[in-house]
Symmetry: C2
Subunit: 143 residues, 2 copies
């Protein structure tokens, strides 16, 4: 139940990205059942390939916590993270990753599951259809 | 010759990191034989695992170029990039990567060479001893 509740909030972030013409990916970071950071993809607006939702959320959560490790945090993201973001989550020693839609082409697991920290617990497929539908709608509009 | 010239500048950046108590990694980004961005690792100062030298340099170079792709750029870095940074360099479609010391434990190539963009040309081992000596000095001081 909690996972659906928080994924809905990540989806709200993804919708914000969609409305700004960005690939619609959204994130919330949760500690002690409280959202401590939220972000959406801003690579176009910021003209910066590193401005994925996850990267911004890691920076914001660390700032909130006053420490750079997310060892007691769950990160909810609407789409499977790419290798860059998985690598960042590894450095952050994230406790738990929950994602919606899988990304067979650009997701980290297409390269290696070892991109994540060995202690990071992974739950995939939460609200996968909603997350994936939003992505498909975005790319259909682009064509 | 050019590679040594620019790697020396990346090493200057690495020394700045060293002086601030950061893991000593430095970067310069070069376009048309001119340095368009320089950065050093700031993960401790900024309390942010994503603040690797490469990540900052990608953001700064894109800002300088007014476009998010580094398709006509060479990035010089004193130590082999980690998977997060390699993933970012892939998104940036970097033309050429030149690094000094290899990092058998945490370098991207320990996971997969496919973390980089297929078009990125790689030159390894430029001033490797100087780059590696600085890292070893840093970790010796920590113990």
């Amino acid at each position: 139940m909690d996972d659906i509740y928080f994924m809905k909030q990540a989806l709200q972030e993804a919708h914000k990205a969609f409305d700004r013409g960005e690939v619609p990916v959204g994130v919330v970071v949760v500690a002690n059942k409280r959202v401590i950071a939220r972000a959406h993809n801003l690579t176009e607006v910021l003209n910066d390939v590193t401005a994925h939702a996850e990267m911004q959320a890691i920076t914001a959560a660390a700032d909130m916590l006053g420490g750079k490790y997310l060892t007691d945090c769950t990160l909810y993201v609407t789409v499977e993270p790419c290798p860059m973001c998985a690598g960042a989550l590894r450095w952050a020693q994230l406790s738990r990753l929950v994602y919606g839609a899988t990304d067979p082409k650009r997701g980290y697991s297409s390269i290696s599951p070892f991109l994540l920290h060995p202690k990071t617990e992974v739950t995939a497929g939460v609200m996968a259809d909603d997350c994936s539908d939003l992505m498909q709608l975005f790319f259909k509009k682009l064509r």
